[in-house]
């Protein structure tokens, strides 16, 4: 748990389930050949099918089904036969007055997601559905309930989605965040979505409730919508949980509803009252035939899956002693292959990983080959380069390529001979007798201050090339 994890009063436990809508990165929409691409020019990617014009018929995009099954298998789900269903509702974001989705027979069920710290969150289902159009509410400050009228853009209507529904297994905000990050990493690894929360290609709704610690009951939950970032999700969950606790403490209870997260105001407000599932009058979509993947289809999908982030982190963890944060970052950036090869080439594993985490936070590190990285790390661990020098050389290597030895000598980073350094220290002591006395006979605070002074002077004299540890040792030896 991070030190900033907000906590509920001790006697309450947070219970969260997440529903994540993932836009699949197909070229076309789910049921028609309109482009699946973000366009600022409204209603340009529309046709009779996605406008629900009479007489039009949907035809399933095979690629979308492949992607959905791939995601299902990556989440450890059973992937089996499924059927599409109509979810009927009256709202102008779907011109058909229903959304084509999956109901009682979803494509993927019963999986799990392993978080970076090893915690496991159950996946209830991951079903295929189409996205709705985008409505803009005009008047009354853009709030849905006060709108004078609404404008509708159907470019997004019919875009293929997979909705991933977790079980209510999440107990902390950190785990909620880790869940979203892990899901995003998996989506990127299996290349079915660009998974950009800020652009809406990954949208998170959070079902939040609280219960007394020790209880196993599931109390009334509220579904939070309009969450635009992982950070915003954390704030929204925290606010909502506290709201529930306050209600219970004052003898009231929350009611089951959808609530709208207001990021600027830092609060949630009631949205549409949650219609019962029955009110959607789900029924099987008569215009689409069932999806029946064979065992061979599923096996082919399994064979096409890359090594997933959790397994990649585990591989690095086996070789090193760094913390889960470092592993996550390196795997997230896709630098784990580079790290493994550099470690294989003999470089110190912890050093490789921490250098990558701290100093290679860039999109393009193609100049950095495993042998070159390994060579640099070896120069650092052997003392040929100080930490500061290694950092600078690495930065040059990432920027323009080249081997560390050449870059180091080009920058004048020759390893400083220890007698050379000692000479410098002696000279400084001679030049600054008062400071030296304060160093040798002052109290702890004074000694620290003077050590800082001498170290600073030596760094200045050597353009930062001296090794801080060596200086400290020399000062201590001479002062004793």
């Amino acid at each position: 748990m991070s030190p900033h994890e907000p906590t509920l009063p001790d006697e309450w436990e947070l219970v969260v389930g997440l529903e994540v809508h993932v836009e699949l990165a197909t070229r076309t929409k789910l049921f028609c050949g309109c482009a699946n691409e973000f366009s600022t020019d409204p209603n340009t990617n529309v046709c009779p099918v996605c406008l629900g014009l009479p007489g039009s018929l949907p035809v399933m995009n095979g690629k979308a089904v492949d992607y959905a099954m791939k995601l299902g298998r990556a989440l450890g789900c059973e992937v089996h036969g499924s059927v599409m269903a109509r979810k009927n509702y009256f709202y102008p974001d779907m011109a058909k007055d229903y959304q084509t989705t999956q109901y009682d027979k979803p494509t993927s069920m019963d999986g799990e997601l392993v978080l970076s710290d090893g915690a496991v969150v159950g996946i209830e289902r991951a079903h295929i559905e189409e996205d709705a159009g985008k409505t803009t509410h005009i008047g009354g400050g853009g709030r849905i309930n006060d709108a004078m009228f609404s404008l509708v853009d159907y470019n997004r209507a019919g875009v293929p989605l997979v909705e991933v529904v977790s079980r209510p297994d999440i107990r902390t905000i950190d785990h909620a965040k880790a869940y979203v990050n892990e899901l995003r990493d998996i989506l990127l690894a299996i290349e079915v979505s660009d998974a950009k929360m800020e652009e809406g290609s990954m949208r998170v709704d959070a079902n939040v409730s609280v219960r007394p610690v020790g209880s196993e009951e599931l109390r009334t939950r509220c579904e939070l919508k309009n969450i635009n970032s992982v950070r915003s999700m954390g704030r929204a969950i925290e606010y909502e949980a506290q709201r529930h606790v306050d209600l219970y403490n004052s003898g009231e209870a929350p009611r089951q509803e959808t609530r709208h997260w207001d990021e600027d105001g830092g609060r949630s407000t009631p949205g549409r009252s949650k219609e019962d599932a029955d009110d959607y009058r789900y029924f099987q979509e008569p215009d689409l035939v069932p999806l029946e993947p064979s065992a061979a289809d599923v096996a082919a999908i399994d064979a096409s899956l890359p090594v997933l982030p959790a397994a990649r982190r585990a591989r690095l963890a086996d070789l090193s002693g760094v913390g889960p944060d470092v592993l996550s970052t390196v795997v997230e950036r896709g630098q784990d292959g580079l790290a493994l090869d550099a470690i294989e080439a003999g470089a110190d594993a912890d050093k490789v990983l921490t250098r990558l985490q701290n100093d290679v936070a860039v999109d393009d590190w193609s100049n950095l080959t495993p042998p070159l990285l390994a060579a640099l790390i070896r120069m650092e661990t052997s003392g040929e380069l100080t930490a500061t020098q290694a950092k600078q050389v690495l930065s040059d290597m990432v920027e323009s390529g080249g081997d560390p030895a050449t870059i180091a000598s080009g920058r004048g980073f020759e390893a400083m001979e220890s007698n050379e350094l000692e000479g410098l220290v002696d000279q400084l002591i001679a030049d600054n007798p008062d400071e030296w006395i304060r160093f040798t006979s002052g109290d702890d605070g004074e000694q620290k201050k003077m050590q800082g002074f001498f170290t600073g002077q030596i760094m200045k004299a050597t353009n930062g090339q001296a090794d801080g540890r060596a200086i400290a040792q020399l000062l201590a030896a001479k002062g004793s």
Binding site: G33, C47, N61, V289
Partner: protein
């Protein structure tokens, strides 16, 4: 004859559909909807224990199209048939104002 659908249920469904029904219409639809359910009950009474449930009338599965673009419609043509438009978009009444 006892009605399978109550007036309250008609009012509930009408609200979901944003329909404003008169008292007479509520009675009329309650009656009609009950008749439909009576018909369904007749079918339900049949013994179909040995018959596989039909998820689709056609004996087909896995009908897919390739993920290839096809031309979309011209926007002016699309919005030309809309009751109201503004800024290249469909303009519709605020639907949810009643649900606070």
């Amino acid at each position: 004859m006892s009605e399978r659908i109550t007036r309250d249920e008609v009012i509930h469904v009408a609200r979901l559909a944003r329909l404003d029904l008169s008292d007479a219409e509520i009675d009329e639809f309650a009656h009609q909807m009950s008749d439909i359910l009576d018909h369904a009950a007749d079918i339900e009474a049949l013994d179909v224990g040995d018959i596989e449930p039909t998820s689709h009338p056609l004996p087909m599965v896995n009908v897919f199209r390739a993920d290839e673009r096809r031309p979309s419609l011209d926007r002016d043509e699309v919005l030309g048939v809309a009751p109201a438009e503004q800024d290249g978009q469909f303009r519709v009444p605020p639907i949810l104002g009643e649900e606070r």
